[in-house]
Symmetry: C4
Subunit: 280 residues, 4 copies
Amino acid sequence: MANFGGHAIPGSFFLFLGFWLAMKHTLQHYWRTSQPKGRQIMSPFFKRIDYLEGGFLIFGAFVGIMVEQFVVDGPHAHLYDTESESWVKLMNWQHGTMYLFFGISGIALVASAASKLVPAGVDRLALSLALFVEGFLFYYHLHSRPPLDAHIHSLLLVPVFAGSASTMLEVFIRDNVILELFRACLFILQGSWFYQIGFVLYPLSGPEWDLKLHDNIMFITMCFCWHLAVALLLVACTSSVVWFTVKRFSGRGKDIEIGMRNTSSKASSQKALLEESDEE
Amino acid sequence: MANFGGHAIPGSFFLFLGFWLAMKHTLQHYWRTSQPKGRQIMSPFFKRIDYLEGGFLIFGAFVGIMVEQFVVDGPHAHLYDTESESWVKLMNWQHGTMYLFFGISGIALVASAASKLVPAGVDRLALSLALFVEGFLFYYHLHSRPPLDAHIHSLLLVPVFAGSASTMLEVFIRDNVILELFRACLFILQGSWFYQIGFVLYPLSGPEWDLKLHDNIMFITMCFCWHLAVALLLVACTSSVVWFTVKRFSGRGKDIEIGMRNTSSKASSQKALLEESDEE
Amino acid sequence: MANFGGHAIPGSFFLFLGFWLAMKHTLQHYWRTSQPKGRQIMSPFFKRIDYLEGGFLIFGAFVGIMVEQFVVDGPHAHLYDTESESWVKLMNWQHGTMYLFFGISGIALVASAASKLVPAGVDRLALSLALFVEGFLFYYHLHSRPPLDAHIHSLLLVPVFAGSASTMLEVFIRDNVILELFRACLFILQGSWFYQIGFVLYPLSGPEWDLKLHDNIMFITMCFCWHLAVALLLVACTSSVVWFTVKRFSGRGKDIEIGMRNTSSKASSQKALLEESDEE
Amino acid sequence: MANFGGHAIPGSFFLFLGFWLAMKHTLQHYWRTSQPKGRQIMSPFFKRIDYLEGGFLIFGAFVGIMVEQFVVDGPHAHLYDTESESWVKLMNWQHGTMYLFFGISGIALVASAASKLVPAGVDRLALSLALFVEGFLFYYHLHSRPPLDAHIHSLLLVPVFAGSASTMLEVFIRDNVILELFRACLFILQGSWFYQIGFVLYPLSGPEWDLKLHDNIMFITMCFCWHLAVALLLVACTSSVVWFTVKRFSGRGKDIEIGMRNTSSKASSQKALLEESDEE
C-alpha cells in the first residue's frame, strides 16, 4: 500500500513487537538470574506470555492478509487474470506472503510453548525465516525505483537481515539476554525506519523530497544510524525500567516466582500450577 | 537435459531424499530422547539405515552418471573432440560431476557407519561439499540466459547453498534435531523447486511463459516463498506422523529399542545384536 | 576534514587505542593465567582501567563531536538550511555520528564495569556496533571519487568490518586473549592506515599522487599488507614487553594481585578492597 | 613470474604442504585417540615436528622473497624508480609479500611450539592471515585480464579463502581432525590448481587455449570440481595409509608413545624425555 498509512501500520506493529520483546526478555532474564542454580524450569507465567505473543502474531498475520486481499483496490483472492493475461496486484500478494510467515512463526511459538515434544529453538528458527522471507521479498522489490527510494528501502534490509541472522543464532545460543535484547532493538529499529520511509516518500506536510539528490541519500544514511542509536537507548531504558519495577514489585524477602504469579489473576495462577504438575 | 523430464528426475530424487531424511532424523531424535541419560550408543538399526541411505546415494549417482553419458544425445565418454576442436556436451559432463559428489557423500556415509575410525562428521562434510559443488556449477550455468530463466535458476541456489551451510554446521553441532530437519526441509524445497522450474520453462500444457516480463519474475520470487512454507509444513507433518506412529508402535511398557528392532526381520535383528557385541 | 590533520587525528586516536588494548588485555591474560583455578573474579584494578577507558572514549567522542560542529567551517549545529534548501556540511555530521557511537560504546563499558546487572558482553556489542556504523558510513562515503581515493578508503573498511566481526564474536567467546589482541591489532592497523591515507591524498612534501594510475592502486594494496604485518609485530612486541615487565615487577614469591595493586596508590587500593567486599 | 615454472613452484610447495599436514594431523589424531582419557599433553615428537614445519615455512618464505627480488628480471630491492617515476616490478613485490606472511606463520608456529606463554591458536591465526593476504592480493591481481585467465585465477580464490576461513575456525575449535584434514585437502587443491593454471596459460605442448571461449570457462569450472574430488581422495588415502602404518608399526602391546619415539633416533629421544621433564 503505497501511502503513509501503508508504512505506518507495519511500523507500529514492529515498534510494538520490539518493546514487547524487550520487556519479555528482561523479565525472563530476571527470572533466570534470581533462580537458585540447577533449577531451569520456566515459570508457567512465561508460557502464558508465549501463548499471548504467538496468538498476537497469528491474529496480526491473519488480519494483515485479509486486509491486503480485500481492501478496495486489492486482488480479492484473484491471482491471475486470464482476460488481460496478467498477474493481479502482485504487491498485495507479496505483502500477504510476508504476513503468512510471521503467522507461521506465531504458530511455532504457540507449539513450542504448548508441548515439550517440539524441540527448543523451533520458534526462533521460524522467526528467523519470517525475517529472511521479508528481506528476500523486499530485496527484489527494489528494482527500477528512483535512487533515494531504492536506498531508503535497502537500508530497511539491514535490521531485517541482521535480525534474521541474530535470531538464527538464538537457535543455538539459548537464553542469551544480549541476543534477545539485540533482537528487540532491531525490531524497534525496523519499526521506526518504516515510519521514516513513510515520512520521506509520502510527506504529511511540507515539500516533497528530491528522490535523486545525492545529499538526501547521504542524510538518510546518517539518519539510519541515529535511529539505531535511539533504538539502543529505548531498549536500554525499557529494560532498566522493567528490571527495577519487577525488583521493587517482587519485594525483598518474597520469592520472585510468587511476585510474578500475582501479575496474573489468582484463579489462573492456580490453573497454571495444575498445568505444571500435569505435564509429563 | 533441457526438458521437463530432466528437471522432474532430480526433483523427485531430492523430494524423496528430503522425506527420507525427515523420517530418519525424527526416529533418531525419538531414540535419543527415550534413551536413559549417559547411554549414547546408536542402535544398529540406524547403522543399517545409514548403509541403505549411502548405498542409495552411490547407486543413484552411478545411474545418473551413466545416463548422462550414454543417453542418445550424450557425450558417450568423449570429453574433447579433436576434429571439431571443441568440448563434447559439457552440460552432461557437469551434471555427471554433480552426481559424482553425491556419490562421494554416499561413500562417506557408508564409511562412517562401517568404521569407528572415520571421525564423526565426515559424512556431513561430504554432503556439504556435494551441495556446494552443485551450487557452484549451477552458479556458472546461469550465464547469458533470458531474465526469468536465470532468476528461477538462481533461486535454486538459495536452498542449495543454505543446505550446504547448514550441513557444514552439523559437522560441529552434532545431533541437533532442528538442523537435521531443516536440512530435510531444504532438500524438499530444492526438489519441489526443480519441478517448478520444469513447469515454468517447459510447460506441459497451456501457453509459454514470457521469459522477459518483470511481473513473472515477481510472481516466481513470491512463489519460492510459498514452496518454502509448504516444505516447512510437510516436514512438520512427516515428523509428527513418524513420531506418534513410533510411539504407538513401540508400546507403553516395551523398550523402544525392541520396538525398533521389530521393524527389521528377526534374523537380522539377532545378527545386529551380535554385531553390537563384536564391535570394539 | 579533508586535509592531512583530519586523517592524523583519528589515526592517532586509533593507534593509541590499539596500544592501550594490547597492554590491557595482556595484563588481563596474565592475571587470568596466574590465578588459581576456580577463582574467576577480576581484580578491582581492571575495573578502574575500564572506567578510565570508558571515560576516555566518552570524552574523546564529546570533543570530536564539538570540534566537527564548531570548527570554523563547520555546521554550527545547523542541519538544514531552509534558505538554500540544502543540507549543511553533511560530512561533519557524519563524522559526528561516528564519534557518537564510540561514545555510546564508552558508556556501555563504564556501565559494564560499574554494575553486575549489565550482562557481560554489552561493552563488546556496543564497540562492535560503533565499528559497524563507522564502516557503514564510510562505505557510502566512497561514491564518485577518483579510483585511488576510493580504493584507499575501501581498504580502510577491511580492519573496520573485521574489527566489528571479531568484537561481535567476543560477545560470545569471552576472555579469549587471541581475539582480544587481534582486536588491538586491527585498531593499530586502522590507525596507521589513516596516516597512510593522509600521506597519499595530502602529501606533506613531494609530488602529488596520480589518483588514476593503476600501478598506484597495486602498490597501495600491497602496502596495506605491510601495515598489517607491522601491526602484528607491534602487538606481539607490546604484549611481550608488558608480560615480562609485569612478571619481573610482580616478583617471584609475591602474589601477582598485590603486585598489580601497587601500581595504584595505597589509599585507592584499600578503597578497592572495600568495594570488592561491598558488591553483592 | 609469468611462465609455467612460476606456477609449478608454488604448486609443488602447496602440494607438499598439503600432504605433510595430512600426515601430521593423522599422527596427532592417532596419538589423541590412543591416549588414556585425561592426559592431554602432546608428545615432544609433535613439538619437534612443529619446529620442522615452522622452519620449513620460514626458510621457504626467505628463499621465495630472495628469488623474487634477485632473479634476473627482478626488482633487486628497488621499489620506486625516481627516474621513470614508476614502481619497479610490483608483481614480484606482491609475491614477496605473500611469502612474507607465510614466513610470519612459520615464526608463529615455532613460537607456539617453543613456549607455553604463546596462547594456543596463534599459529592458526597467523596461517589464516597468510592465506587471507594471499587471496586479498590475488583478488586485486585479476583486473583487466582475458576472461579465461581471470576466471582460472578467481577459482584459485576458492581454496585460498575457504582455507583461511577454516583455519580461522581452528583458532576456536582445537584438535578437530576433520577441520585439520580439510585444511590439508584445501592446500592440495590449491597446489594442483596452480599446476592446472600453468598447464592452461603456458601449455608445454599442443595448441594454445582460446582465452575468450565460453566453453573453455565451463570446462575449467568443472575441472576445478574434479581437482577437489581428487584432493579429497588423496587426503583420504594418505590418512588411511599413515593410520594403518603407525598402527602396525607401534605394535599390539607396545605403547604408541614408545613407537613414535622410535621414529626419531634414540639419542634425541632421550633428549626429548629430558625436555619433557624440564618444562615448567
